[in-house]
């Protein structure tokens, strides 16, 4: 596992407190800085749009779901790379998420290798984007 620049944060959004805690622990144990949010709204309200990092996002959540949050972030020009986690994602959802620029669309429960690799890719993309501020508008590299 590569060392990750301290400045980057993994923003974790999941409405299930137990899953949020467990994923947070796993990412921390792998050396990441983690911030957890219980809903899409809480993320939008509390997260600093300039902060570097990536989002690990649950798809099915009450209120605004993960895909809607992605749309909203894209619309607002927030280019944080997103790793989706879903309990029952169909091909259509995956297609939609990936086209809108998601780094990965993983099925729950997912093994740590898979999740950590996707998070690494997402953080890598984030730092590339920050060094090339004028890249594609939707964050595709």
């Amino acid at each position: 596992m590569k060392a990750v620049p301290k400045a980057q944060t993994v923003f974790l959004v999941d409405d299930d407190p137990s899953v949020l805690r467990a994923l947070g622990r796993l990412l921390c144990a792998a050396g990441h800085k983690v911030a957890g949010f219980a809903s899409a709204q809480e993320f939008l309200d509390r997260q600093d749009p300039e902060a570097p990092g990536c989002v690990v996002l649950d798809v099915a959540m009450p209120g605004s779901d993960g895909l809607k949050l992605q749309e909203e972030l894209v619309r607002a020009g927030n280019r944080l790379p997103i790793v989706f986690l879903t309990g029952h994602g169909d091909a259509q959802m995956r297609e939609r998420a990936m086209q809108a620029g998601a780094v990965a669309f993983l099925s729950k429960p997912c093994l740590d290798d898979e999740l950590l690799a996707a998070v690494e890719r997402a953080l890598m993309r984030d730092s590339q984007l920050r060094h090339r501020p004028c890249s594609a508008p939707n964050g595709l590299v």
Partner: protein, 373 residues
Amino acid sequence: MARDLRAREQQIALAGEAASLGFWLRDFVRNEIWASDQFRALFGFGPSERVDVDKFFQRLHPDDREQTLRMLEKAQQEDGRYQTEYRLLLPDGAMRWISSRGRVEFDPRGQPIRLRGVSIDVTRSKQAELERQAHRDEVVHLLRVASLGELSSALAHELIQPLTAILSNAQAAQLVLAREQCDLAQMREIMGDIVADDQRATEVISRMRLLLQKHEFRPDALDANELIKEVLKLMNYDLIGRGVLVVTELTSGLPSIRGDRVQLQQVLINLILNAGDAMALQAAHSRTLTLQSRVVEGCVQISVMDTGTGIPRGDEEKIFERYHSTKPRGLGLGLSLSRSIMHAHGGRLWAENHASGGASFHLTSPVWKADSR
């Protein structure tokens, strides 16, 4: 005078024979039982065999002895009347359903002297009733399985969440253990969470299993608010998937209701699934499901209210008819069956549109009384 009496007794015996009624008289003072021929035939006693209380109870089905004994004791302590049903298990292995009523006569000091009773064989009508009930239970069960089918992906999600948490916690623990200095307090926390999530998954399975099991109507003292919360736990992800916002307005301290937990859950699942369908065409932000509990006119009333398209004007009763469906793939059995479940509970189920748009379904259930069975 004596002749009149004898003639009357003969008349009674004849009428009893014609109606298959068995008469009996228990003398508390002499500790004897006199039984008519018809009674002896019903209970499997020979024409001149001595009948006593012990022999009588031996003929009763073992599961019904205790209850019948209590009923007779209660009659002696109260106004002396009783009416009951029990099963006989005859020495040849045959089973008979008996309906029995009687009266205790007391002396001026209030001591019981005699007990006069009449018993009739109701095996045939009882079997027909049980068959009807079994048939209904079967239909209820099939529809429950069908509605669980509709919920299957939501239920899978309910299991996936704790499994995800368990896996991530276990793998976090592996990473923590690989370090040179292991934080024991953190390990304890992780293990505690794994145990809790495992229990959570087990509860999901128990709830599903309870709903999938076939069982007979079994009334219990139930808390309406608990019932609502259990159903919402089962349907949580289905409602999230449909983009429905759930609001609960539960009155605390409600009296217990008398009902069959699984059947009442089924009625609520059915009403909530309908509400979700009715709101499918609404804009996502205006899909609100409200579940309310309160006491109305001595009954507990549960209301399921949606912000959907409402019931076509004038169809508020029609929707409860069998095979009436507004859905392309609907069987038209859900609401008619839900209503018959509520009637079997001694309660009601009805619907109305509300002015602000959407429909409300109200169900009432009588309050549990300690001596009701």
